[in-house]
């Protein structure tokens, strides 16, 4: 029997250990094993006690632990991973690249688990980097120009973000070696370059979180990636940014009101902007990508709240976990649902879409309530009002999504496994957030009482739904402006290309330095001298000069 703390390691590497099953080439077995493998991620949660694993020979003395944030997100990670892997097995049967896709998915899943469970800075950075890089093959999996363009943008932005994070990590480590993550917020708070550090961390993880304007990779990558990969990106990967923020930033240590407000503003703008742009999009997965961006905006807002008031940081963290679980499960279901065939798939999407809007009784309602609970003490009714307004837009976006999905053609033909994966996630989305809330925030479900609440939570759904339906019926979305996927990135890339050519032209026109004189000059010169010296007469004269010279100096020396 392995010691309890080693289950942390198993939780991280477990899915990877399942990979050899691919060699059996038996789809049923593969599907079963792969879908079951992520369950090991739940094992540490079932073990009692304060699990801490220290591996002194690994990396820079790697340490692992499970805490509220990590443990909570494991609850998200395990079902999503299982569903994603199941779907991937089902959809890629017989495809020669199946192994590649599954390996990349598994690696990303493992790395995500590593991000959740890492308890020291270096290991965290390591897992985060592997996860970022491991997602690249997922993005470019289809290997068409669209995928490659998306991959380039993803990788470019991710690497830039990675650089910012690396700088921040090194700055932190400079004051504490390779510290435990638990100690990091304190170190950051007292760091002489705290401002720079916080800026780097916010910006670095914002790319992954998709905070506007650093979201551009999401709307490109999601449509380009295969369905299971998109689900993984949206449901899990982007959440890693939250871990980074909450683990490294001094949330709850010090009050940073200005910064917190800026973060909240960024979150709100992100939500607003992504919803608006998303509505103009014509592909379901792009719409979903923008939806992810908008929901991450809400999670960003929670971070801002925590930054403003250390007092509410604990609640904000809990709300973050709750909302992240809810969003991850719902978004995973939505993406996987998009991968189903035929008209009927719209029905699979309805429930998660409602959850996202925050319809009553859904997990979304719970999440939004949590946000409101955290925000209200600070901002009063403004928070509720704003939340409702934003939810209206989300509702519009969901209508747009359902409309797009409903246009799908054909009649089913899915493997039962695919449907099972979607259904599983929907069920998880209904159950897990409530369970978490019931366990860790019992008062929260209790707040869902009274007519006022019911009206409040139904309002966005009704208004948004009606507005969306009206737009859909009367305008068919025809006069929506055409905004390219990833909005600003395309013009920016074109501009960059033009700049590059302009610079190249200038470079070519620069005067080139003259060539240095070659060796032949020296040899010609020496040949000329030698031909003058060669005559015996010349030697005779030089001989006399030499005699005179030495005599003269000798006479002088005599003086």
């Amino acid at each position: 029997m392995i010691p309890a703390e080693w289950w942390l390691g198993v939780a991280i590497l477990g899915p990877m250990l399942a990979l050899p099953v691919l060699a059996t080439r038996r789809p049923l077995l593969i599907g079963a094993v792969m879908a079951a493998a992520p369950a090991v991620q739940l094992v540490p949660l079932t073990l009692s006690g304060d699990l801490q694993l220290s591996v002194p020979w690994l990396l820079l003395e790697a340490r692992f632990a499970v805490d509220a944030l990590g443990g909570g997100l494991l609850l998200l990670s395990a079902p999503v991973s299982a569903a994603v892997l199941l779907m991937a097995v089902a959809q890629t049967q017989g495809n020669i690249r199946q192994a590649g896709l599954l390996a990349a998915l598994t690696a990303t899943i493992c790395a995500f688990a590593g991000v959740l469970l890492a308890a020291d800075l270096a290991t965290f950075y390591f897992a985060y980097a592997v996860m970022t890089l491991g997602a690249y093959p997922l993005v470019v999996y289809r290997r068409d120009p669209e995928a490659f363009r998306a991959g380039r943008v993803y990788l470019g932005m991710a690497v830039l973000a990675e650089a910012a994070i690396l700088a921040a990590v090194l700055l932190i480590a400079a004051s504490g070696g390779n510290p435990d993550l638990a100690a990091v917020p304190g170190l950051v708070a007292e760091h002489p370059k705290a401002g720079l550090l916080v800026g780097l961390l916010l910006a670095g993880f914002a790319v992954k979180a998709g905070v506007v304007p650093l979201h551009a990779w999401l709307p490109l990558a999601h449509p380009a990636a295969p369905i299971p990969a998109s689900a993984l990106l949206s449901a899990l990967l982007v959440k890693a940014a939250l871990i980074g923020w909450w683990r490294l930033l001094p949330v709850g240590e010090v009050a940073l009101p200005t910064l917190g407000l800026a973060v909240i503003a960024a979150g709100v703008v992100t939500n607003l902007y992504a919803n608006l742009i998303g509505i103009t999009q014509h592909r379901a997965k792009t719409v979903l990508a923008y939806s992810t961006v908008s929901q991450m905006g809400l999670l960003t807002t929670l971070l801002g709240l925590g930054l403003i008031a250390p007092g509410v940081a604990g609640a904000a963290l809990l709300a973050t976990v709750l909302f992240a679980i809810h969003h991850g499960l719902a978004k995973g279901a939505l993406f996987l649902g998009c991968g189903l065939q035929g008209r009927g798939r719209g029905w699979y999407l309805l429930l998660p879409a409602l959850a996202l809007v925050g319809a009553p009784l859904t997990a979304g309602a719970l999440g939004k309530l949590a946000i409101k609970e955290v925000a209200e003490p600070l901002f009063g009714p403004l928070a509720a009002w704003l939340l409702t307004a934003l939810s209206v837009l989300t509702a519009l976006l969901m209508v747009r999504l359902l409309a797009l999905v409903a246009r799908g053609e054909g009649l089913g033909g899915d493997a039962p496994a695919s449907r099972g994966a979607v259904v599983g996630l929907i069920v998880a989305g209904l159950v897990v957030p409530w369970a978490v809330a019931a366990l860790f925030w019992p008062e929260l479900p209790g707040a869902m009482e009274g007519v006022g609440y019911w009206l409040d939570s139904s309002l966005p759904l009704i208004v948004g739904g009606a507005l969306g339906a009206w737009l859909l019926v009367h305008r068919h979305g025809r006069d929506l402006p055409t905004i390219p996927e990833g909005d600003w990135i395309k013009p920016a890339l074109l501009g960059g290309l033009r700049l590059r050519y302009a610079l190249l032209r200038i470079w070519q026109r620069l005067p080139h330095p003259p060539r240095p004189p070659s060796l032949s000059v020296i040899t010609r010169l020496s040949a000329a001298i030698e031909s003058r010296l060669v005559a015996v007469a010349m030697s005779g004269v030089l001989f006399l000069v030499l005699v005179l010279g030495i005599s003269l100096l000798g006479l002088l020396a005599g003086r």
């Binding site: 020979w57 990396l59 991959g151 690497v159 650089a163 690396l166 700088a167 090194l170 700055l171 400079a174």
Partner: protein, 501 residues
């Protein structure tokens, strides 16, 4: 001779192992392939064993010293300390690996006796540099290395190779002159002084009495080793030397030449001048600035290369300066980063060159755009390449990350926050020139009409060395915290250089 005496002379035996190998191989006729291969491997293995014995001895606290008076007041001194062993062990291991590779690589080329003879000589010189205990010995082997590598660079004999040889010599001999001037000036001023951890005491006195001369001498010596360490603007020879056969490039870039330069920087800054003196004289800050420029310049130039080996070469220019940077910064953490990168860069770069050579040898691939889709075709070698490239970028868990980590910490320890920007920018640039290569290898479709790939088994002796070094690079990073990892060993050196107060 008693067993103890034999044991005391271990450094000499290890040095002779490669010298004798060289002589034996020179003496063998070209067609005696089996015998040559045997001697090659035998020599390399014997040497490795001897180095391991010394490693064991040093770990037990033993120290080896071989002294021979060459001239009155000038001694040939081989000493084995932790720093020497770091480099010696690296060269011994990689020599063995490269020999295996080179035997397979050059199976059908001409002039193999000459090639392998100089190959062994080259390693002997590297080993001598590692074990050199004073400046005279260091210079002796340093120049010997120049001489021994030149025939390898021009081995192919075509005009480009000859031109590369000329450039190589112009730079290295020029550097040798600078180094010689500095070394002799030290000898003239201080007499026969041995390296000592933390700086020669007499040198710091001298620096106090004659700051101008000491600065000039130190600058000359550093310029001399800077040529081999490919510091901008002395780096031009390195990309040109790419015309050499792949094993030579691998050896040049990973173990022998550039490393000798970098090792020289370590020795001169740490064990001759001492970090504080170098700092007061103002040499170290200049070196830091130069290294920073080199790191960025090499990366930018690498971006523009379309030839795989040339891109790797410019990458070396950039990467080797990490070592210089770490040493020049002058703090325990930075030194640790620099030293550990000495090993890490070697492992990663040799892997990359092995792979480049493999591609070139089996498929005739030289340009980066010819690599499209080779990954699925040749998964093993491409995996090795990937490990090397990711390590170069500094992505964990490959070894490069560990180096970057400590370099960054070292820079911050010295209060040079701007260097963090350099490191990060360099990481970005590394990613910018390595990731597209990986994309081509793994993601892009194979071009139509490419001839059928020979199975990797056909050239497995080209493959195994690459896999070995790739695994080593991976493990060096993954198990960095282990006592006997390169990091652990470098820590031991740093403890000697900066004894805890």
């Amino acid at each position: 001779m008693s067993l103890d005496a034999v044991h005391e002379l271990l450094p000499l035996w290890a040095l002779l192992a490669s010298v004798i190998t060289a002589v034996v191989i020179f003496a063998l006729r070209d067609h005696r392939q089996r015998q040559r291969t045997f001697w090659n491997l035998f020599g390399a293995s014997v040497k490795l064993v001897l180095v391991l014995l010394m490693l064991h001895g040093v770990m037990l606290g033993h120290s080896y010293e071989v002294v021979y008076p060459v001239l009155p007041g000038v001694t040939l001194l081989l000493t084995v300390d932790a720093l020497a062993l770091l480099f010696a062990f690296l060269s011994a291991v990689l020599w063995l690996v490269t020999t295996v590779y080179a035997v397979a690589y050059l199976e059908h080329s001409g002039q193999r006796a000459r090639f392998f003879g100089f190959f062994s000589l080259c390693v002997a010189a590297t080993f001598g540099i590692a074990l050199a205990g004073n400046l005279f010995t260091f210079f002796l082997f340093y120049e010997l290395l120049t001489l021994a590598t030149w025939p390898l660079v021009v081995h192919r004999g075509h005009p480009a190779a000859l031109a590369a040889g000329r450039t190589y010599l112009a730079y290295t001999l020029g550097g040798g002159v600078a180094l010689l001037t500095g070394v002799v000036a030290v000898q003239a001023a201080l007499g026969d002084v041995a390296f000592s951890a933390g700086g020669i005491p007499a040198f710091s006195d001298w620096a106090e009495a004659e700051p101008f001369q000491a600065t000039a001498v130190l600058a000359l010596m550093l310029a001399g080793v800077g040529v081999k360490a490919a510091l901008v603007p002395l780096h031009r020879w390195l990309p040109v030397a790419m015309v050499a056969p792949a094993p030579v490039s691998a050896l040049l870039h990973a173990v022998a030449v550039v490393k000798a330069g970098a090792f020289g920087v370590v020795r001169i800054l740490q064990d001759v001048a001492g970090p504080e003196v170098a700092q007061t004289l103002g040499v170290a800050p200049v070196l830091v600035a130069l290294a920073a420029v080199t790191i960025l310049y090499g990366s930018v130039r690498a971006l523009a290369q379309t030839d795989l080996k040339r891109r790797l070469a410019f990458s070396t220019v950039s990467q080797v300066s990490y070592i210089t940077l770490g040493v020049a910064l002058g703090g325990p953490l930075a030194l640790l980063g620099g030293l550990v990168h000495l090993v890490h860069q070697g492992l990663m770069k040799i892997t990359l060159f092995f792979c480049a050579g493999y591609y070139a040898e089996t498929r005739g691939i030289h340009r980066i755009d010819e690599l499209d889709g080779i990954g699925p075709r040749m998964p093993w070698i491409s995996a090795a390449f990937t490990v090397g490239a990711l390590g170069m970028i500094g992505l964990p868990p490959v070894a490069g990350f560990i180096s970057k980590w400590y370099l960054g910490l070292g820079a911050l320890e010295q209060g040079q926050t701007w260097l963090l920007g350099v490191l990060v920018l360099s990481t970005l640039l590394n990613a910018a020139y390595f990731l597209p290569v990986l994309r081509r290898i793994w993601m892009l479709p194979e071009p139509a009409g490419r001839p059928e790939v020979p199975p990797e088994r056909a050239s497995r002796w080209l493959l195994y060395p690459a896999l070995f070094t790739a695994a080593a690079a991976l493990l060096a990073g993954l198990l960095a915290a282990w006592d006997v990892s390169p990091l652990g060993w470098a820590q031991r050196i740093v403890e000697q250089e900066y004894p805890a107060p």
